[in-house]
Symmetry: C2
Subunit: 322 residues, 2 copies
């Protein structure tokens, strides 16, 4: 993708400003946008009087591969992982900013598809793309900032879990890891809908954005999204709260398609559930029973770290850069 | 810089989370920060009920060179160019998010110096660094998002200029371009304070942040910062406002050190003033005389485009990616 292709509509030949005109034209903004793309900065309503903000960078070859994901999928995923961070504070997404670095030879079709994926998922998350930047780089690099509004809620931090809380999950666990493993092994999932759905879960995760504000309204004491892996992310939460998280493996069973995929690959589907990242499920701690749709997977105990069926986890718990 | 060096404290060997711990430790947050680094997202006050947001990405070899700028200078510049965009809406900076991509072999000393530059300029701009991301990439890539508060002012857009307004500048013009030309030619400015100051203007531009809110309070009809070049940026403003900007070259004379640098290099110092970017001066349009400290450089007329002493500019007006 990095080399010039037959498509002579490349980013370099189109030029920075014409590309920006192309990708912003005809895009309707959310009601929260007062000033959208085209000025020195955007202006967004923050009726709560506070604004939630997070940023994540995705790098070609590291966070995505253009032979495994379409540009549309990559745009989707870039928004999803940032939007999930907003949700996991108990907030709703209002706006996204997109800084994009790409080689001059990048076909305009790649940029247009990427833009489509960004916009679709931004809309699903409840916000719009209010601004950005476009620069020349050797690798495709996408940096997203998401903004959100708490609508009067108190933010739900990682540090509020207390002994006796239940731990509950909303969303998928390990499906993205299973899909990645299938891609990595080159398994052709074309005719197998259930396996293809795992690959789709890797390419286009669907964070349960609305579950974040719901958890906050239900009095969640702590909340985070699972981007690195359940054990890794609960490890951060346990450390921030000064508690131990005791997981119950019986509540964390993989689905049948995941078991089947693991069997095909000689892998452990249970490990995908415990350590797979990028599904962007939410995990929260609750002093009272969690709302319906949340699955209780463990409890908060005195101590430190994360244990599974009472035993400490001594293998990598999930993703870490480098 | 990209290769591993004798310094065995590299980013890769230190690990993502330890690096983040290192660069966030002991940094005091601005009073506007409610939740700083370490959770899923940051939380910042936005008392105005609206938030200004902008993002810019800087790529090694394209926007900076590690043999021409120190990591500290690069951090400074990354904040400055984003903070200037906030100022040019008439807002004050409240917070910055920093997404950083760098090779595993990057020495920790580079990251620490970069971080120092980021923090110093963020503090000068009036905000703090509330969050970020750290990922592995082939090139050093820095993506900054700046947030700002209008404090009740209406945003000053590029689109408000009207026939009869005066055009005025606050800050430096062309000094960064002169410094870049000196670096590019390999001129040793060591013993010549005035030339060294031009190089410093390129490495560490000092946007006049306070002039943005000041211009808004003085009723500026349009405002932008000069990141690409005076003619290029006024071209955007003229197009957005549907007007012509008529510049008066007599009001845009280069300083003596710039004339001297141009003479050394066989360049035109006047062109640096008109087309040099990256000083991040502010240029505004005013219906009444601008506040003291602003220099009137032209007027708004009916028509389109930018003219200098009545003549259209037919050379490149400034920077464009690709």
């Amino acid at each position: 993708m990095c080399a010039a292709q037959d498509d002579d509509r490349t980013v370099g030949r189109t030029g920075e400003f014409a590309v920006i005109d192309r990708i912003t034209a005809g895009r309707g903004q959310a009601p929260t946008t007062i000033v959208g793309p085209g000025d020195d900065a955007a202006l967004i309503t923050s009726p709560d009087g506070r604004v939630v903000a997070t940023t994540d960078m995705l790098v070609e070859g590291r966070h995505f591969r253009l032979d495994w994901s379409t540009p549309r999928d990559i745009g989707h995923k870039a928004i999803a992982q940032n939007g999930a961070d907003i949700a996991s504070m108990g907030a709703v997404c209002t706006a996204f900013l997109v800084a994009l670095g790409c080689p001059a030879g990048t076909p305009m079709s790649v940029i247009e598809e990427l833009n489509e994926g960004l916009w679709r998922e931004a809309t699903r998350a409840g916000g719009s793309i209010v601004g950005g930047d476009l620069v020349a780089s050797e690798q495709l690099v996408i940096s997203i900032t998401a903004l959100g509004d708490l609508q009067g809620r108190e933010p739900v931090l990682r540090s509020g879990a207390r002994d006796g809380d239940v731990v509950a999950v909303a969303g998928e666990l390990g499906r993205s890891a299973a899909g990645l493993a299938l891609l990595d092994a080159g398994v052709d999932c074309g005719a197998d809908d259930a396996l293809a759905a795992l690959v789709r879960a890797h390419r286009t995760p669907l964070p349960p954005y609305g579950r974040g504000p719901e958890a906050a309204d239900a009095g969640a004491s702590a909340l985070t999204d699972i981007s690195d892996g359940l054990i890794a992310d609960l490890g951060h939460l346990a450390r921030a709260s000064g508690v131990r998280i005791a997981l119950d493996r019986a509540a964390l069973t993989p689905s049948d398609p995941m078991v089947r995929a693991a069997s095909l690959l000689g892998a452990d589907a249970g490990d995908w559930v415990l350590t797979g990242g990028e599904d962007h499920a939410l995990v929260g701690c609750f002093r009272t029973p969690p709302p319906s749709g949340w699955t209780v997977v463990g409890a908060v105990r005195p101590g430190s770290g994360v244990v599974v069926d009472g035993v400490g986890w001594d293998r990598p718990g999930g993703w870490e850069s480098y």
